[in-house]
Subunit: 243 residues, 2 copies
């Protein structure tokens, strides 16, 4: 982990721009406390610089609860080298949505699977580094971002204790199968009128997830219209499971 800048924010919390798991990231840590802090991995759609204000707001919720929070740049996004194959798949997706055509599995696989294949090992390497830091080492939560990344990470990494998933993007069949292997408590957010995502597919994902304790919060409105009160519900869910 290589830190390029750091500064204090809010009541002694620290924000660091660092290389985490080999890729650019941001780490927020609360002031030192007697017990190791839980850590929340903050997902996002890619583009750390653009997403920074919203990530900082979400990190502040974590810091207020005594948790650390971290965000990693996604493969192909922000200042990372773009993927021509992903861009082509994304263009196909947008053409299908614009034409009102169903989005076929081939497009979803080409767009999402390479992202999952690249991002999950990066997140796991970042976890290795983060959990070795002084003051960290409590349970790990996932919150939001590309849902297929969250599903696979929760399925394969035993350090993940709970996950908030936003059922807001297309899920490859392979990941839908992997969802059955997830066992940690889940809060799944769904925008009922999401213009870029299929409602039935999102409900199928919720159904497929193997966790005994899973809750779906569906709200009216489009992709970006998640109501403000859901941020409090996320806090309460994480508090129940990260302590």
């Amino acid at each position: 982990m290589q830190t390029t800048s750091e500064h204090r924010i809010d009541d002694g919390a620290l924000e660091r721009r660092s290389t985490l798991g080999g890729v650019p990231g941001v780490l927020w840590t609360p002031p030192p406390a007697p017990a190791p802090a839980p850590l929340v991995l903050l997902g996002h759609p890619g583009g750390l610089a653009r997403m920074y204000p919203r990530l900082l707001a979400r990190a502040r919720h974590c810091l207020a609860a005594g948790y650390a929070a971290a965000a990693l740049e996604l493969p192909g996004a922000g200042e990372r080298p773009p993927s021509a194959a992903a861009e082509a798949a994304r263009a196909d997706l947008h053409r299908a949505l614009a034409a009102g055509r169903p989005v076929d599995d081939g497009i979803v696989d080409r767009l999402v699977l390479p992202l999952v294949e690249a991002a999950v090992p990066e997140w796991r390497a970042a976890l290795d580094e983060l959990l070795a830091l002084p003051g960290l080492g409590g349970p790990v939560g996932i919150s939001g971002g590309i849902v297929s990344i969250g599903v696979r990470l929760a399925a394969v990494d035993p350090r993940v204790a709970a996950a908030v998933l936003f059922a807001g993007s297309h899920v490859p069949r392979l990941v839908l199968e992997e969802a059955r292997r997830v066992t940690v408590p889940l809060l799944v957010l769904l925008q009922w009128d999401d213009e870029g995502n299929d409602r039935q597919a999102a409900l199928d994902l919720f159904d497929a997830l193997g966790s005994r304790e899973k809750t779906l919060h569906a709200n009216t409105g489009g992709h970006t219209g998640v109501p403000a009160f859901e941020a409090d519900d996320v806090d309460r869910f994480l508090a129940r499971h990260l302590g």
Copy 2:
């Protein structure tokens, strides 16, 4: 409103056994306050005596928020005269469920529509009486019970300001149509593995409800397995809308 007994509970709150809207009921009121108290109508599956411990627990949540709460006996339940037609329809329903057969619309109509037709005017008459009491007169919320009663009451009575609906029983097509006329904020609870209710029908009901602000909370587990944390979510929903 004719009161047969009353006694103090908890910090000056009052419980009254009364005839409300012409039928047996229980009313819980908080200690006098400067502003008129909001009122929550507590729904239940019928049988006030049997349901009393759980109703009291829910009423205590309301009282803690400064609300009054009331519950009415359902038509044909508890000490009210039974309905032979409803009993016959219920037997047909149980036979269909036991045999794994789909529950046809005819059974649902015979079981639920007469209940809705009888109960909604009783609830409205009870509201007339309750809102005229000293100390009451704030906004009215509905919480739980037979979902078709809640839907029709929310659709037809402008005094209802918000409703918590438990999508846990069969809904006649007529009530599904009426659902489009509901406009108040809604929290809809759904048990994902409800053994006595069709999941897709419950999702169709959520979709049909006309409210701009509606939230679905779906949890794993059977009909009676609503997680304890949903009681807090109900409190927060009512606090947002009843003040």
